[in-house]
């Protein structure tokens, strides 16, 4: 029995200042992890920096948005035959030393997808701006009601998953602000979801992709998408054939 192969999926757009450290840090914490950086149409040298630190780099020909970029990463993981995938942002706000913690429930086969939540009791003093906080708690409540499972942070991009999760997300992943809908997708496909508390760091470089005006637009759009998604039938993911 060999160790499961793990890939870190890192979506990045114009993060040349941060991406190098992110890749190095993932490696330092987990020397066995492979890293794939999805360059989502950057206009700076994100791809070059990532490649020079030894990450595999998938360059999207134009900006697809976070959902499309992350999905590309999962497709890469699926096709390259990885057993586990972890996902963290390219701006350095997710601490790679927490990855082993996130992978724990998956190794013990207690979960298919683990989400690093900023709000589960016990996690640090992460306080996002008011507008963001309202949005996050609104979606957490809505998703909790829809899935009949307590979810505290549906917008966290800090995740770990097994092969089931990888193949689900490789085939079907929502677009802008995708983590909220993805949570519902996980529920619909009857995958086991677990939240663990994590610390979130301040962004070191660049700006968040979500401004205030856009967050209102997203809030409406995602709420609509959630309600429609509940009315939609998703196929249960097909049993995995022996892949090479």
């Amino acid at each position: 029995m060999t160790d499961p192969r793990v890939i870190a999926v890192v979506p990045a757009r114009n993060e040349e200042g941060a991406i190098g450290d992110v890749v190095d840090e993932i490696r330092r914490c987990n020397s066995l992890f492979d890293v794939v950086v999805i360059d989502d149409g950057s206009t700076d040298d994100t791809a070059g920096v990532a490649a020079s630190r030894g990450a595999a780099v998938v360059r999207l020909p134009y900006n697809l948005g976070i959902g499309g970029a992350v999905q590309t990463g999962f497709q890469y993981a699926l096709e390259e035959g990885y057993d586990r995938a972890v996902r963290l942002d390219g701006d350095g706000q997710h601490d790679p030393s927490a990855l082993a913690l996130l992978l724990g429930p998956i190794e013990r086969d207690e979960a298919d997808i683990v989400i690093g939540s900023r709000f589960v009791h016990g996690s640090g003093a992460y306080r996002p701006p008011l507008g963001r906080r309202i949005g996050i708690s609104w979606f957490a409540k809505l998703v909790s009601v829809l899935t009949r499972q307590r979810v505290t942070d549906t917008t966290s991009g800090f995740q770990a998953m097994n092969r089931k999760g990888i193949s689900l997300f490789a085939r079907d992943y929502p677009n802008d602000y995708p983590e909220v809908e993805a949570t519902l997708l996980v529920y619909k496909h009857r995958l086991r979801l677990v939240e663990l508390p994590v610390e979130m760091r301040e962004r070191e470089h660049g700006e968040s992709s979500i401004t205030f005006a856009r967050s209102i637009y997203y809030a409406i759009k995602v709420t609509l998408a959630l309600l429609v998604a509940m009315a939609r039938k998703h196929a249960v993911p097909e049993e995995e054939a022996g892949t090479g």
Binding site: R27, S31, D34, G54, Y62, G68, T72, Y76
Partner: protein, 137 residues
């Protein structure tokens, strides 16, 4: 009753629409599948414009017999909404397909780079002092 001048003007406009659509298809600038709705629009408007008794009849059913040309506006608006809605679905499908294409292209390109010059090196293979020498080959 419908003024005769409106009937004539609306008929000409409908005929013009049909003619333009036909010309666009002939010049391969419009695919037949996207033209069908426009042809239907032109034909329905033409029938209602030229067949004055028909227009009066429909106006009577809908209680606007004092001004039957209103039906022409209503029908034209309805068709425009249908066409726009249809185009939105076409756009959505194109956007989805575009995303898939971009993803396939990016993944293939990555693989090509990997195969060609081995620039992309996996973690285990890379670090010389690594405890776990690459077994992923």
């Amino acid at each position: 009753m419908t003024p005769i001048r409106i009937s004539i003007a609306a008929s000409i406009a409908s005929l013009l629409l049909l003619l333009i659509v036909f010309e666009l298809i002939r010049g391969r600038r419009l695919k037949e599948r996207y033209a069908l709705l426009w042809i239907a629009t032109g034909l329905v408007l033409l029938v209602l414009s030229a067949w004055r008794d028909g227009l009066n009849m429909v106006a009577g059913w809908l209680g606007v017999s004092t001004y039957p040309p209103a039906i022409l506006f209503a029908v034209a608006t309805l068709f425009i909404i249908i066409v726009l809605l249809y185009y939105s679905t076409v756009l959505s499908k194109l956007a989805d397909e575009n995303t898939i294409l971009a993803q396939r292209l990016a993944l293939l390109e990555q693989r090509l780079t990997y195969v060609c010059d081995g620039v992309t090196v996996r973690a285990a293979d890379r670090e010389p002092g690594s405890e776990h020498p690459g077994e992923t080959g």
